[in-house]
């Protein structure tokens, strides 16, 4: 059965993007259905983060097209931003604001009530430092704060770029719980990881990016870091 366009959380066709003279993505096609979580692996510089940044409208493709639940990432970028939540490896918080102020600022920008921000802080385990300025936070706490921002948004599609970095075991389980909950309510998740074992409990399908092109993984990885060359030699991903 072919899912309709709006049922596809991600429908990317021949996406290409270059920085200067270097083509980072060279025709990426990817389909991700509603209620599905997928993992994306690849060597450093293979274009994983670039693909996520294209899908969340931070950058525009040089060629190809992509839709998020039917909304075009270029023509309907504002609609896409309502549907997508992006967890970047960089926390993107304000050092001179407190944890609560940071998440409440995000809530205001997202049009959500302040109570939702407080609930998110509790969920990520930062209530005890909610009134403290972020400047002294550890890397793991900053990641939790970024995750709180994502929880406030509760988007239909979450794009997670190395979401397990700097997290302890509890934090890793928290990330996986967020993925599970998003999928359970009919949303989708695309997770970029190096250590496939961490996301394996929640990810159903795996893709690999190499030389700017996407390939399905030869088999579902079980543990450990995705080995170089572990991709199938060909095949579309639909």
């Amino acid at each position: 059965m072919n899912p309709s366009e709006a049922d596809l959380a991600i429908d990317a066709r021949m996406l290409a993007r270059r920085f200067g003279a270097r083509w980072v993505l060279r025709g990426v096609s990817l389909a991700l259905r509603s209620g599905e979580a997928a993992g994306l692996v690849g060597d450093n510089g293979s274009g994983k983060s670039t693909l996520l940044r294209l899908l969340c409208t931070l950058i525009r493709p040089n060629a190809g097209s992509a839709t998020i639940f039917g909304a075009d990432v270029v023509k309907s970028a504002d609609r896409v931003r309502e549907l997508v939540g992006f967890l970047s490896p960089v926390p993107g918080v304000y050092d001179d604001l407190t944890a609560r102020e940071n998440v409440r600022f995000a809530a205001t920008m997202l049009g959500r009530p302040a109570a939702q921000a407080d609930a998110a802080l509790e969920r990520v385990g930062l209530v005890h430092v909610a009134s403290e300025r972020v400047r002294g936070f550890s890397s793991g706490m900053l990641r939790r704060l970024s995750l709180a921002r994502l929880l406030v948004q509760a988007p239909r599609l979450i794009l997670l770029d190395e979401p397990y970095n700097n997290f302890d075991a509890q934090g890793i389980e928290l990330v996986n719980a967020v993925i599970r909950e998003t999928v359970a309510r009919g949303g989708s998740a695309l997770v970029v990881v190096h250590d496939v074992g961490l996301a394996a409990p929640v990810v159903a399908r795996w893709f690999g990016l190499r030389d700017g092109k996407i390939e399905p993984l030869a088999g579902a990885p079980t543990r450990g870091v995705a080995p170089a060359g572990a991709f199938a030699s060909s095949g579309a991903v639909h």
């Binding site: 970047s88 926390p91 304000y94 604001l97 600022f105």
Partner: protein
């Protein structure tokens, strides 16, 4: 998105910028120190001739505000770039003009406070008496600051995506600010001289016209300059 939502977002951005600045204080202190230093240097350059100092006061006032303002405008986006916060800011749904409006409001408060210091120092340093038409002078400062901040905030956003932003901003901004600065300086000079020729009103009208043009143009084009 409804106007009420956009207004709430703009206020949130302004509050965030001003709170960050109030707590760190690094930006305002250095910018104010630069503005005062420029005025003192003008004072040294003009020497002990009080008439020459009085005549140069309007130019010195607005130029020191301009040079110090450039630092402030650069800094308002540097705060976003330092912590990687610009990306989340751009990913919030809704019109980007609310981000611009928020930055504009915060920069206006910042530069208005700066102007208060610059005016007081200028009056003392250049032997200028408070004019009888001081409310009119306040109007000039208000509209001049709006013009300066509007273009400064806009071009700082444009330059923020460049690695050479510190150099790029003055190069982009200074030529565009010529009409605002010219009108503000001439109006200030007329008021300080007692407005014998009744020309201050015309310069203020010109200033308001430029403000309106720049406000409308920047609000409608901000989405394009902030895009990657």
């Amino acid at each position: 998105m409804a106007f009420r939502d956009e207004w709430a977002r703009a206020r949130a951005v302004a509050w965030k910028d001003l709170t960050t600045e109030r707590r760190s204080k690094a930006g305002f202190n250095s910018v104010a120190a630069l503005a005062v230093t420029i005025l003192v240097l003008f004072g040294f350059a003009l020497g002990p001739d009080t008439e020459a100092a009085r005549a140069a006061a309007p130019g010195a006032l607005w130029l020191s505000a301009l040079f110090a303002g450039v630092l402030a405008f650069n800094r308002s986006y540097q705060v976003e770039l330092d912590g990687g916060a610009l990306e989340p800011l751009l990913l919030y749904p809704g019109a980007r003009r609310s981000l611009f409006a928020g930055k504009l409001m915060a920069n206006f408060v910042f530069v208005a406070l700066l102007m208060a210091i610059v005016i007081v120092v200028s009056l003392v340093l250049f032997h200028v008496a408070v004019p009888a038409a001081w409310p009119m002078l306040l109007l000039v400062v208000l509209f001049g600051t709006i013009g300066l901040v509007t273009l400064g905030t806009f071009y700082a956003a444009m330059a923020s995506r460049s690695r050479a932003r510190e150099v790029l901003l003055p190069l982009l901004l200074f030529p565009m600010l010529v009409p605002v600065l010219l009108a503000a300086m001439q109006a200030t000079k007329a008021i300080l001289d007692g407005d014998i020729m009744h020309e201050a009103g015309a310069w203020i009208s010109l200033l308001v016209a430029f403000d309106l043009i720049f406000l409308i143009a920047t609000f409608f084009t901000f989405d394009y300059v902030i895009e990657a």
